[in-house]
Symmetry: D2
Subunit: 271 residues, 4 copies
C-alpha cells in the first residue's frame, strides 16, 4: 500500500495539467500566457502539447494505477477469506453482537466484506481497458473518450474510495485467533519443521540426497498415518545417529523461525 | 446484426434458469417438484445442478454476447465517422436545421453520435472481463460475484439498449451523398479499374509478371503526376497493342463491378 | 462443460465460412458460383457479405467462448485447490510414488496442476479483449486484425487444448478422501444440522423469530466454547420442550440431506 | 513518449527487487545479510517483505506501463493511417522503388506498418489484465502467476520492443506532403478561418449571438453550394459593414494560426 500511495501520487501529478490553447491547440486566438496564469491559479501545469484535449495517456495511467490498487486490495481480501474458512479460522471479520448471520443457518458467519471487496476489485480493474483504448483518438481529437470517461471516471474512483474505506475498517476490526494459528501448526504434527532437520542433516555430513530421503520417509509416516514427526525422527536410527536427540529436539523450536521478524517490521515501518 | 440476434437469443435462453434447491443445493428441505413448478410458471428452466447460486458461466456468456454486439455496433460507427470526414463526405449524420454546430466553428459538423457510440462500445465491451472472473466462485458459492453484477448487469444492459436505439436512429436518418461517392471514385482518375486491365492483359496472353509491370508503370504516372489512367493506357504501345482501344475503354465500366449486387442483397434479405 | 460443448460447437459453426469474392467483395472478376463450389468442398458456408475479409464478430465470438471455457476450467481448479489445503484435505491431485515434493519441504504436496490451470485461465480469458477490438475494421477491411490473430489464434487455442487435457487427467486421477469430508463435517459438532432444527421448531408452532433465537443461542455455544450442538439442544428446555428428544436426534441424520442426490445425477447424466 | 520513458524507468525500478528469504520469507535458515549482499551485487534492492515470491503488484505495474506505451504507439499509428487515406494523403509510409503494392491493385499503397502496429497495441494492451489478476496470490504464495508470466513476460516485452523499433523506422522514413496539407485546407474554401471572423465581429461590437448567425449563414453557403467563404463575407452587407474589407481579408492569413508554433516546440524540446 505504500507503493500504491507513491503510484497514485505520481498519477495525480501526471493528470493535473490544463489546456487553454484554442479549438485545435494553436493558441491562435489566445496567448499562452493566459494558459500559464490560469493553470498556476488552479494548481495545474500547462499541457505542453495540447490539441482540443489533454492527451489521454495521462488518464490511462490513472486508471491503471486504480487497477493495481484494487488488485492489491483483493490480495488482502483473499487472505482474510482464507483465514476465515471454518477449517482454518485464524482470523475473522468483526461480527457485532446483535448481527444476524445467514438466514437459513444461524451459526454461519461469512466473510461478506472481503467477498464484496473481491468483487469490487474485479470491477475497478476492468475499467483500465476502455481507458487504454481511449488513448488513440483521431487527429486533433474526437469525443469518443468522453462517454467512456463519464462512466468510468466517477465509477472507478468512487468504487475504489468506498472499497478502501471498507478495507480500512475490515483490517482495523479484524478478529485474530493466535491460538488457532498455533493449533493449525500443531495439526501438522511437527512437519513444519522438516526443512530445519533437512539442513541439520546435511550440516552433519549426510549427503543432500540421503538427507532428503531420510526426512521424506519419516514425513510420509506423519502424513499418511498421523504419526508424530519428532517421535518418528528420534526412533529413526539413521537420523538419530547423525543428529543426536538434543539437536533433533532443538529443531522443533518455533522461535528459530521468528528471529528475524523485527528485521522485516523495521524494513517497512522504520523505527 | 442478424447473427447478434441469434447470439442474444441463445444467451437469454441460457441465462433463464431458476433454482429453489436450498442453501447448498441439496433439496434437503424442499422437494424438486417445487422448483419445477415455480420455474415453469416463470418461464424458466430448473437449473440442473445448482449450489446456492446459478453457475456463473451462464452470465459470462451473456456479457460476452453484449460485448460482441457492442463491437459490431462500433464497426458501423467507425464506418460513419470515416464517411463523414470532410475530405471524404460520402455520408453524414442527420443535422437538423436549427441545430448549432461547434461553438467556435459554425460550419463544423462532427459525427457526434457515432463518436459517442464508439466510446459506449469500449465501455460495454470491457465488462465481459469481470463477468468472466465471476465464474470461479469458491465451493458451493461465495458472494464475490454479487457486487460485480450489481454494477455491470444494469450498466452493460442499459448502455447497450440506449446505444442500439441511438444507432437505429443514426442509420435511419443517415444522409448519404452518392455524388460524392462518385466524385471520390473519379478522383482516382481511373485507377480503381486497374485490376480489370491486369486480368485482361493476362487473358490476352501477356504473362502475369509483364501484365503487372505494364499496369504499375501507368498507375504510377497517375498516382505521382495526376495523369488519367485510361489516357495513359491508350498511349502505352504495349498495352494498346495487347488489348486494343475498345477493350481498354470497356474495362472502365463501373457496372462491371456492380453486376452481383443483387446476389449479395438476396443472400442477406432473401426475397 | 456440457454447456461449453454446445457453445464451442456453435462458435465453430459460425466461424466456418469462406469468401472468394474478390479484393473488395464485389465478385467483379469471379462468379459467386466458384465461392459456393469451393466452400462446399471445404465444409464451409459462403460468407453472405464479405469484404476483403470475413467479418470479425465471428472470430470474437470464438475467443469469447474460449474465455468462458477457460473460466469454467478455473472453477474446477479453484475447487481442487481448496480441497487440497492441508487443513481441509478432502481431495488431492495424484502424486506418484517416486515424485519429489517441494525441494525445501519433503512432506509438501502442492496442487501444482490446478494452480497452473488457474493461471492458464487468466491468460486465455484476456485474449477475448483484442479479439473484440478486432471487429471494427476500417472500411472494406484493414489488416490491423492480422497481427493480433497471429498471436492469439494459435496461443489461445493451443493453451486451452493443453489445459483441458491436463484438467482431464487431473480429474480422472484425483484422490478423494471421503473420511476427511466426514471429519470436516463432524468438526462442526453438529452445527451443519442447524437449519433442520430451525424448520422443525417453526413446524412445531414456535414463531420464526423465536426459533432463530433458540437455534442461534445454542449454535453460539458450539462455535465459541466447542460444545456439542445436539447435547446443547437436548439440554435447552425450550427446544426440548417444543421438539422432544426423538425429533432432535432425528434432525442429525445426514441421509436427510442426501435423499435427492440421484435426482441431481439423473438431471445431468440422464439414465 | 517522454512521459512513457519516465513511466518505464519507474516500473523498471519498482520491479528490480530480489528476495533470498527462505521458502516462506522468514529468513529462518539464511541471514538477511546474504539477501542484501547478493541483491547489491545484482543491482537489485532487497524486497522489504517477501514471501516465497516477490509481491506481484510490481509486475502488474510493469505490464500496465507497457499497455500505456502500446496505446500511445497506437495513437501515432492511427494518425498515420488517417493521413495516408487516398482522399487525404498528407503523409505516407515509405514505399521503396522496387516494392510491389497490392497483388490485385498495382497502384495501391496501404499503411501496412501502422495497421500492424495498431494490432500489436491491441495484443500488448490486453496482457495487463492477467498481470493484474496475478496480484492476489493465496497466502504466502501460490504458483498460479507462473504460467501467466511465462507467456506474457516475454511476449509483451518482445512485442513492444519490436513494435517500437518498427514505429521508429516508420516515423523516421515517413513521407510528408505539405502541398497536400495546403490543398486540403483550401478545399474548405476558407471555412477554416471562420472562428477568426466570429471573434472579429464580436470585437467590432456585434453581439455573440448575431455574430454566430452571420458567420453560420455564410458558412452554410460554402458548405452546401461550394461558394468561397471570403467572397460571401465581402458580399454580406452586415458582415462587411461591421468589419470592412481589409479586416475581412486579414482574417484569412494562415500565419495568424502559426505564430505560437515555436512556443510549443520549445515546451517539448527546450532549446
Amino acid at each position: 500500500m505504500q507503493r500504491n500511495r507513491v503510484r497514485l501520487a505520481a498519477a495525480r501529478e501526471n493528470i493535473a495539467t490544463g489546456a487553454i490553447s484554442g479549438a485545435v491547440g494553436t493558441f491562435a486566438n489566445i496567448d499562452p500566457y493566459v494558459e500559464e496564469y490560469v493553470c498556476s491559479k488552479m494548481g495545474l501545469k500547462p499541457e505542453p502539447v495540447s490539441t482540443q484535449v489533454i492527451p489521454r495517456d495521462r488518464h490511462a495511467e490513472y486508471f491503471c494505477v486504480l487497477a493495481v490498487i484494487a488488485s492489491s486490495m483483493e490480495r488482502i481480501a483473499i487472505e482474510v477469506r482464507h483465514m476465515q474458512r471454518t477449517e482454518v479460522l485464524e482470523a475473522e471479520e468483526f461480527f457485532s453482537k446483535g448481527q444476524k448471520g445467514s438466514s437459513a443457518m444461524p451459526h454461519k458467519r461469512n466473510p461478506i466484506l472481503s467477498e464484496n471487496l473481491t468483487g469490487q476489485a474485479r470491477y475497478i480493474r476492468s475499467l483500465c481497458i476502455p481507458a487504454l483504448e481511449n488513448v488513440a483518438l483521431w487527429h486533433e481529437r474526437d469525443i469518443s473518450h468522453s462517454s467512456v470517461e463519464r462512466y468510468i471516471a466517477p465509477d472507478a474512483t468512487v468504487a475504489l474510495d468506498f472499497s478502501l474505506r471498507r478495507l480500512n475498517g475490515l483490517v482495523k476490526n479484524l478478529v485474530v485467533y493466535p491460538e488457532n494459528m498455533q493449533r493449525n501448526l500443531n495439526q501438522m504434527k511437527g512437519l513444519v519443521f522438516s526443512q530445519k532437520i533437512l539442513l541439520d542433516l546435511t550440516q552433519a555430513g549426510v549427503s543432500r540426497e540421503d538427507s532428503y530421503r531420510l526426512v521424506q520417509r519419516n514425513a510420509m509416516k506423519v502424513w499418511e498415518q498421523g504419526a508424530d514427526f519428532q517421535t518418528e525422527l528420534l526412533a529413526d536410527r539413521e537420523v538419530a545417529g547423525a543428529l543426536g536427540e538434543a539437536r533433533i529436539r532443538e529443531a522443533f523450536d518455533l522461535n528459530y523461525h521468528l528471529k528475524h521478524v523485527d528485521t522485516i517490521f523495521k524494513r517497512v515501518f522504520r523505527e
